[in-house]
Symmetry: C2
Subunit: 244 residues, 2 copies
Amino acid sequence: MSNIAIWVKYDGTHYCGWQRQPKHKTVQGVIEKKLSRILGSDIVIHGSGRTDSGVHALSQCASFTADLIMPEDRLKFALNRILPVDILVHDLAVMPDDFHARYSAKGKTYIYKVYLDKVRDPFKDSYYYHYPHKLDLDAIQKGMKYFLGTHDFKTFMASGSAVSNTVRTIHSFEVEQIGNTLEFTISGDGFLYNMVRIIIGTLFQVSRGKTNPDEIPMIVANLDRSGAKWTAPPNGLYLKEVHY
Amino acid sequence: MSNIAIWVKYDGTHYCGWQRQPKHKTVQGVIEKKLSRILGSDIVIHGSGRTDSGVHALSQCASFTADLIMPEDRLKFALNRILPVDILVHDLAVMPDDFHARYSAKGKTYIYKVYLDKVRDPFKDSYYYHYPHKLDLDAIQKGMKYFLGTHDFKTFMASGSAVSNTVRTIHSFEVEQIGNTLEFTISGDGFLYNMVRIIIGTLFQVSRGKTNPDEIPMIVANLDRSGAKWTAPPNGLYLKEVHY
């Protein structure tokens, strides 16, 4: 048996997220079905983590063990031939036995995309968050700095999550304006459930003047989910890279 | 009764084209349903022409007569509030009584988008034609010139179309390379069914060395559909503008 990793790019618009579900189309479910067909046995893949319905990935990683009955390049080629057009396996490699896409991950980078037109754009709605209001980028950038470093991010976790250790470290957090779009890039050692979307949601509350950027350290310190009131929509979020 | 025109931007990926069909979701069908709900009577709209399944529009025009029970801006706003996110009415105006989106049209401009990566991109497949082969842009540009002017374009019409006059005039035809994408822009007094896609298909046969660009005048002159063998896929095509 070989320990195999795949790196997957997908448009999450038409999937009920990453994780396999009995009655819904998911990215994991589709990949497992196609891999099982090619390799002639039931394959179970382990992603680096879940992505929600509508969230995209530029490079999600997943690992699985299988009897590799063909060369790696051949398997990648065969897989991409039968995968739907909105999922692409851009890399595939045999890994050391102790590699696991989830447990070996040392961190992740996410991108969050926003477009700023007054009017919504039918071609952007699945790939960006639409922000039609006045932008206060200075206030957003002021707020962003407070997220850097090691904090207990309990405030920025979707309620109902059962995670005991909510301390995470954000290594970098940047924003770039390109024409009428914004692209946030955030890297850290790990992210709680919905953490990126709640952070981005809080920053747009700042842009709209509903939260003062200097309140953010207090909102973090309070460890109270009700302090971060808004979760930005999934369609602007992209898992860019998993770090190993 | 008022004679009203709307200009519509839509992502055609998830529609069976423009034209209303009893059992399938179409752009015309969806707009008519929403307009009828707002205006309280059955509305029938007339597009400038059909677009096929998967074809997009930056500005399709359609006209209809109705009892305008609210100001134009209010109707546009109400309509966009209930239209799905992949359809936007970007303009709405009361027109002279003799205006008709189809019969008043003096010409159209289409865009055709292509991306040139070796590997397919899950985020581009619904919005571009994927050309992974070696590009011969010089040969394409040489071939494009032969389409300019007035010709009988019978060769470049999908077989089975029942149109008596197949003479059309192409006013301009340009291509721009932006990074790894190509954008063709073609304007004319009218286009036969599938004409743009068959012209683009022929140009990529030229790029692949399967057709010599200097054969194009002969392919046009032969008036024989079998001379233009390949129809480029719908997803790269955008109706950019209808000229009145």
